[in-house]
Amino acid sequence: MSTYVERFPAEAKVIRSAFYVSFVSLAIGALMGLLQTLHRTGMFEVFSEPGTYYTVLTTHGVFLVIAFTIWFLVGVFVWAVTTSLDRGVESLRFTWSWYGLMSLGTALAGIAILAGFVDDWPIVGDVSADVLFTFYAPLQAHPMFYLGLAIFIVGTWVAGVDWFRSWWVWKQENPDERIPLPTFMVLTTMLMWYIATLGVAVAVLAFLLPWSLGLLETVNPLLTRTLFWFFGHPVVYFWLMPAYMMWYLLLPKISGGRLFSDPLARVVFILFLILSVPTGIHHQYLDPGISEGFKFIAMTNTMFLLLPSLLTAFTVVASMEHGARQRGGEGHFGWLKALPWGNPAFTGMALAGLMFAAGGFSGMINAGMNINYLVHNSFWVPGHFHLTVGTAVALTFMASTYWFLPQLTGRKLFSRPLALVQVVLWFVGMTFMSNAMHRAGLLGIPRRTAEPWYDGFEFEAGVGSVGELNAQIALGGTLLTLSVAIFLVVVIGTALNGKSSEIETSVIPEPLSGPEDSPLVLDNLKLWTVIAVVLVVLAYTLPLASIIDRGGLLGPGGRAFPMSLDSLVVLAQLATEGALPR
């Protein structure tokens, strides 16, 4: 019994089903990405009515960073818990119930967004949610959007319960054993997630949903925005921690070696648990209504959050080197040649890690409180996060899919060369797109803008020209979309492939330095949770109290701005009065 599907056929089905939702979301998101790059660079006028751009951008954001990533990682977590505890889920029914909740949530939010492509629906009228994935009030989406989001998040909470429950039962049977590393990673990530999602849950359930239903007249835009970022930064680590998990567990194995150090991996995940949340205000350096002191605290926490990533860089490289030397690699850099570059799972993850280093660098710039003024909301920012979530996470997920799929289906990967081309194409496309986005941002070109060309001024490029940057962005975006298409071909091809008996074992080799080397206290999840909560309380109580004290729970006034307002009215007024309506 070696492949995962042979050991856990029912769980493999759950994971496959989660992955397929994830990949459909990726396909939709990537298509939107292509339209965005072509339209906003002026390469091709995709939208005759530029307002459509924002429906597209909302789709891109939500389908990729909420649906694609989270659907994938819940699958990975089921795999991690079941393999490392060596037991199936406690109740399949329960497992499918969170799958159902998450599906319902995805469907509701997704429909609310996609409905925005049509101006008027029979019976229900205008439904839309062109609020982007940050849904800042007073921009208002259709209630179905908020409801879907809430149900989706509750689904992930229930999923967490499933994994804690497995661990709990396992612990009764194995009272003296250390938590296996993969399960440890899942549990710490979920603890972080429970704390992080409190912010968005309160924002949605207490304010935005009732407000969109007309039960509340006003909300406090700064409060809901702050609650969003309470969640919005740690969600980054919710994507990243599973990617790190792949780097810690799969990458060493595929390189032909073993993980360097189990204890250090635990330390890294604990650091993420305690430091991820009290940093969200770094997205609000430019927000009025939040004092400089609170911003400063968020800045320091953010910088310390570099530590687990830097430690990961070390461990990953060291484990790869170990693997390469096992395969006969020699010399200071010569061992690099001995790595299995022909294996798409390996190459994809290695390239993802490399690009993450670049993304980490531009991230340090963003985190610098004062230099942030130069780049905030410029095109630099999407340049940055397409390296982090858009590559470190997305490419790692795609690459690990090439390892997972045979495990989950018992079928051989459809085409290794094609898969290899796919990951390399992603790297090339992203180099073009992200690099040019960073540079365009430094010229002041804004993000989230359908047509960033203006009547009164032009952007001046010190070196090169705006046109060149646009060409690079469009080229990069096209290559990336092509890469996603190839990915889907490989996935579908594999699903249709015949069963094979030559699939390698799914067993992860023991780390070089095992859990017996790590102090027991590392496994004390209660302790770390308490510390995490205390840090959050310290970082957030005063800012939230101050925001509420200043503006009131429901804000100092102001109307809602439903995004389903008929666009034609606005445009007609523009045409007849020559000026924008007020």
Binding site: Y53, L57, L132, Y136, P138, L139, P221, L222, R225, F260, S261, P263, L264, Y285, L286, D287, P288, I290, S291, E292, F296, M299, T300, M303, F304, L306, L310, L311, F314, T315, A318, G368, M369, N370, Y373, L374, N377, S378, G444, P446, R448, T449, Y454, G456, F457, F459, S513, D517, P519, S546, R550, G551, G555, G557, G558, F561, M563, S567, L580, R582
Partner: protein
Amino acid sequence: MNVHQYERYWLIAALVLIVAIIATVTYGAVGIGIAMIDDSEETVDPDALGEHERFSETGTHQVGENEYEVNVIAWQFSYEPGGSPDPPIEVPAGSEVTFYVTSEDVIHSFSVVGTNVNTMVIPGEVATMTVEFDEATEYGLLCNEYCGELHHDMEGEIIVHPEEEFDLFEIPAVDAPEQVDAGEEAEITVTLANERHQERSTTLAFEFDGDEQREDVTVDGESTEEVTFTVDTTDLEDDDYSWSVTVEDGMERTVDESGQLTVGEPEED
């Protein structure tokens, strides 16, 4: 716990790096004094900006020798002042300008292209930032926070005038009769206020029924002058005539007043 030696070096290097970055940022904030957007202003009611002390008077105001305040309201999808249909924001070179920016609808940004003057504009909150404008030049202004369907059209302009050409005139009052009998003279008295703290000269152009009269005026800093234009109606038929008075100060912002004068018996409605 078994930590490899290289790993220990790496850990130390990582910590040093982190502390160094924090120190640099702190130095920027405390040492050089790069100010952040903060919570120094009270909240405002976005629905009642017209009654608000500051935001009922949008535009540039001089508050010190060479210190100015500019009050701006961002709205879907422009700036008042700054973007169409309002005039650009105008300030003098060599000045220290504090912007007070709020929104009357959704979240916007107020971002001066090619500089680090960049802030979020949140309804209910007032963003303030102080900027030194050294040279006469022009800057583009844009909104980089998605604010709705026409977000990409939201732009504006800041014009920095040479200090010696910068004026802040207002016409707080015009004393004009509504009606005169045919053949009589009508006197129209314009109060011209110089809101700069320095003495400034300008020209008032008065137009009545196609005829223009011009008058050069010098006004002390922070004070007013009255200028009277006389209209002779001897050759006019009984009718309604319109007049206007404009400050010709070379600013983009027009300062003018207009009204109507009835010559002869007013028509009954």
